[in-house]
Symmetry: C2
Subunit: 121 residues, 2 copies
């Protein structure tokens, strides 16, 4: 099961929800899929993405990411048209200045707009 889910995530180029996985594996129980993803998360195989849709999405971590230590520093893009969310792993989050007294530990950055597939160029 874990292998199957891993492969499913690997071939997908976008972040997926739990119900995406459920649809792909309708013979398996929701709980199994849920716990598999949670296991992946603990082991820093996938990372969670909160793109503001209210439904948490998951995507494979890139090689050499340090999810366990620090949050992924790349930004995420959510398309308002096709509703898909992608990791822009090549685009690192710039240093954010915070006021005196505040200590920044990690940053969550989601850009919304139109993705390359939907913008048509």
């Amino acid at each position: 099961m874990r292998l199957l889910i891993y492969r499913f995530l690997a071939e997908k180029q976008v972040a997926v929800t739990l119900s995406d996985i459920e649809n792909a594996f309708d013979k398996a129980d929701r709980t199994t899929l849920y716990r598999t993803i949670k296991t992946f998360e603990e082991k820093a195989i996938v990372h969670q993405i909160d793109d503001g849709t209210g439904i948490t999405k998951y995507a494979l971590c890139e090689k050499g990411c340090n999810c366990e230590i620090e949050t992924d520093l790349h930004l995420h893009f959510h398309c308002n048209n096709c509703n898909e969310t992608v990791c822009l792993t090549a685009h690192k989050i710039p240093q954010i200045k915070v006021p005196k007294g505040f200590v920044s530990e990690n940053v969550n950055l989601v850009v919304k707009g139109i993705c390359d597939k939907c913008s048509g160029h």
Copy 2:
């Protein structure tokens, strides 16, 4: 009711959840509070904040913000210690570069860490 809720938001210095408001006004019905906040949101009196906790929070818009037209451009800070979220209205979100073909419409930026009250200086 609207006045009361407005004042409640005004004296709070942090973003509040719906259940925060419920606790503050336990005589009123959830629905009323819910719809009041939604009205405020439509009228751009408050803006919604998704700080990644899974529970949407709300905070008063600053004077002259253009929430109706564009999303608020300031960043939000979520404290991992006291679990409070504040608007850093003075800190605008820097321009984010996106890959070719992507069109950025708005940006959600949440910094997590330790707030000034919790860091102790």
